[in-house]
């Protein structure tokens, strides 16, 4: 004879069954393991720095240009002060983000840009050229320097321009895949150099530098691809668990084991509560494991990150409930799973792109989750700065979860 049993005890029994079923499913366990290994590996393969400079080759070296110009300046009667300024010339000074690699020989530089010569930088900072076509060996302990642009100045460039000589010509060698805007910028750069050396001031005034850069200046401290991928990986973990949960729910529906449960003291509500708790628990725990493997929590963001992950876990559990109840067979359920999860994935790509996202992307239910994750993990957003997205996420959470609950309840009751 059975004893009266409380609702929590029934839900506890159902949860124990869920765990048993999940743990016996070696395919899903294996998949979970694969994902928990692969994503961190992928994460660590990604670049953890941003190369925001343009590296250009220059020939002849700046000191040669300066040396030639010095003689001409002296002949023209330049003051000591002007000669001192010339000696301190650094072509990259005015332009942060420009890196020069100097070549003695213009022809060699052109060959490096063309790709028929390779340039390598040794640990000592010396540039070594190797002609791989001729069979030269690659130098040891050296890093390849990719040079897609080279500027060939005439040796007397500074002097000629300063003396306003006509017919001064500079050649810019470029790999054809260099974008048009960079090639155009090189032309502009050389012309501006010439204007400066010719003593022709800019016809405009520049405002103070502080007024020019808007927003937090991240020069030299850009967000790396790895940092951008962190929230995306966490989000993907949550979303992929949707597939697993939907499949397990679908199996119970299709095999009618839920019917067997519902003729015991367990009610539909107990069944749904157990699915919700289990689905959320699985998503959340995997997300936490991933967080431990790829990092990202700080003393400032931990509570916000955990809360939004929990919201995401519940939201996608709702999606899983809906998808699990749809479809007349397993493949049909899979079809619905893809139909729902593909749009939910779209906001994750916004992480990789600069600037604001398109307005139609902001409407998607997963957007606020991604937004808070990115804001808190990449840009250090606080609770106050995130409340709007959190509220929006809460609305979608309720909508999706209730929709999923209703769909599965209806399905179960009509079995």
């Amino acid at each position: 004879m059975s004893r009266p049993i409380s609702r929590p005890a029934i839900i506890g029994a159902l949860l124990k069954k869920e765990l048993t079923a999940y743990s016996r499913d070696f395919i899903y366990l294996g998949l979970t393991l694969v994902v928990l290994i692969m994503f961190p590996v992928l994460f660590h393969i990604l670049p953890d720095s941003v190369d925001e400079t343009i590296t250009i080759a220059v020939s002849p070296p700046v000191e040669v240009l300066v040396a030639d110009a010095r003689d001409a300046f002296i002949a023209m009667g330049a003051t000591e002060e002007q000669l001192a300024q010339l000696d301190e010339l650094d072509l990259t000074e005015a332009e942060e983000g420009l890196l020069l690699v100097e070549f003695e020989d213009k022809e060699q530089m052109a060959r490096v840009v063309e790709g028929t010569l390779e340039a390598w930088e040794t640990e000592a900072g010396d540039l070594v050229l190797s002609d791989t076509e001729a069979g030269d060996e690659k130098p040891k302990d050296a890093e390849r320097v990719n040079l897609d642009i080279g500027i060939a100045f005439p040796a007397s460039f500074i002097a000629d321009v300063a003396a306003s000589k006509s017919g001064v010509s500079v050649t810019v060698y470029s790999d054809a895949h260099v974008p048009a805007e960079i090639q155009g910028a090189m032309r502009s750069f050389v012309r501006e150099l010439a204007y400066q050396f010719a003593g022709r001031e800019l016809p405009v005034d520049f405002p103070e530098e502080e007024a020019v850069v808007l927003g937090q200046d991240r020069l030299g401290d850009q967000v790396t691809l790895r940092e951008r991928m962190r929230p995306m990986i966490l989000f993907m973990i949550l979303l992929m668990e949707t597939f697993s949960m939907a499949s397990l729910i679908s199996t119970e529906v299709l095999q009618r084991t839920v019917t067997a449960v519902l003729v015991t003291p367990a009610k539909v509500g107990d069944f749904l509560a157990a699915k919700t708790i289990f689905g959320t628990f699985m998503s959340m725990s995997q997300a936490l494991i991933m967080l431990a493997l790829i990092g990202g929590l700080t003393a400032q963001n931990w509570s916000l990150v955990l809360v939004v992950l929990l919201m995401g876990a519940i939201m996608f559990t709702g999606v899983a409930l809906f998808v699990g109840s749809a479809g007349k067979d397993f493949m049909g359920q899979l079809f619905y799973a893809m139909l729902f999860t593909v749009p939910l994935l779209i906001p994750t790509f916004s992480v990789l792109l600069p600037g604001s996202v398109a307005s139609w992307v902001r409407v998607l239910p997963s957007y606020p989750i991604v937004d808070v994750l990115v804001g808190s993990m990449v840009y250090g957003a606080t609770w106050a700065e995130s409340w709007g997205s959190l509220a929006y996420a809460a609305v979608w959470l309720v909508v999706l979860y209730v929709a999923g609950l209703m769909a599965l309840k209806r399905k179960v009751e009509t079995l």
């Binding site: 420009l98 050649t171 012309r191 597939f243």
Partner: protein, 354 residues
């Protein structure tokens, strides 16, 4: 082995295809993905420097930038809106050209250049936009530049993202149509018992599996070629394209047969596809992000079918440049075929014991 019986099984599968959501999904997905990827995401993977201009005086600078390649120009009406977008990094830089700016420059008044830079913009974009703007201001001033600059290009121009996405799109066609359709088809037949019903007739297991394989090959070939055509990647060397696509379809369909024979039910089949998804698709990502270390792509088995498609179809190379990769792909297909046969015998034993 009877080709006639095999053909009957294949004919049945082709006829039943439109009733299956997976089959329909396989047909629709490449078209839908082409549309989404090229329209929605195509321009977003290869960002150009973004410049916003508020031009209150019809400046020649605006007209010049409009005519330039490689700079994404946005014209706005309000300077505050411009500054907001720059601050939000919707623009790398912003320029406000007041009324009479051009005349002020020409007359030597030295107006202030109202130029803003986004804190999140890369140094390279800042350089590009600022030197380009300064150069245009110099042109406004008039007069001859003290130097002429000649640009000499080596090699061929880089590929736009719309082209670099093609391997990913073709991959979808190959994997969904070539792998998933035959695989799930076999599993469904097992689950419904129709496979056993067929095997108690004169039809042999090998004939059934061959029919499923051909189903995948045919579907994948057609959809891969259609995807390539939709993306403008089928040129005068189309016979070579068709050959490399067929080889690719053969391998992916054989993977599907192996998966279908191995999986006892739909959930396991799904698990296999889901679990190996990143493993299958990874090579395609290396075409989208050419700055990634390309040697990593060769670790993945489907690299050996996607690279020939890339070289022959997208890059227009002759098939002779990819014989080695085709040979590797055929060898992998043959090995998978042997595996499928071994697994099929185990599958038959399991079905008999049920």
């Amino acid at each position: 082995m009877s080709l006639s019986r095999m053909w009957k099984v294949l004919k049945k599968d082709l006829a039943l295809g439109p009733r299956s959501p997976i089959f329909l999904w396989a047909i629709v997905l490449p078209f839908a993905l082409t549309l989404i990827m090229q329209v929605a995401f195509g321009s977003l993977f290869d960002p150009e420097p973004r410049l916003g201009i508020v031009d209150e005086g019809d400046s020649e600078i605006t007209a010049s930038i409009e005519g330039m390649e490689g700079i994404e120009l946005t014209l706005l009406d309000d300077a505050e809106e411009l500054k907001a977008q720059v601050e939000a990094n919707d623009l790398d830089a912003g320029l406000v050209l007041g009324v009479g700016f051009d005349d002020a420059v020409r007359s030597g008044e030295k107006p202030t250049l109202e130029f803003y830079i986004s804190g999140e913009s890369y140094a390279s974009n800042r350089i590009i936009l600022s030197v380009t703007t300064i150069d245009l201001v110099r042109e406004l001033e008039g007069g001859e530049a003290p130097v002429t600059v000649d640009i000499v290009n080596f090699g061929r121009a880089g590929l736009p993202i719309s082209v670099r996405l093609v391997p990913l799109l073709v991959f979808y066609a190959l994997v969904i149509a070539g792998l998933f359709v035959p695989g799930s088809n076999i599993v469904e037949e097992k689950e419904q018992g129709t496979l056993m019903a067929m095997l108690v007739t004169p039809v042999k297991t090998a004939e059934v599996l061959l029919a499923k394989w051909l189903l995948g090959v045919i579907l994948a070939t057609i959809l891969a070629v259609v995807t390539l055509a939709l993306n403008g990647a089928v040129g005068p060397n189309w016979p070579h394209v068709v050959i490399v696509v067929i080889v690719a379809a053969m391998l992916s369909a054989m993977l599907g047969v192996v998966a279908g024979v191995f999986a006892k039910d739909s959930s396991i089949m799904f698990g296999i596809v889901k679990g190996t998804g990143i493993f299958l698709f990874a090579p395609a990502l290396f075409y989208i992000f050419p700055e990634w270390p390309q040697w990593i792509a060769k670790i993945f088995p489907l690299y050996w079918i996607i690279n020939p498609i890339w070289q022959v179809s997208v890059m227009g190379e002759s098939i002779s440049t990819v014989w080695g990769e085709i040979a590797v792909a055929i060898a992998i297909t043959a090995a998978l075929g042997a595996l499928a046969w071994t697994l099929a015998r185990r599958m038959q034993a399991q079905m008999a014991g049920q």
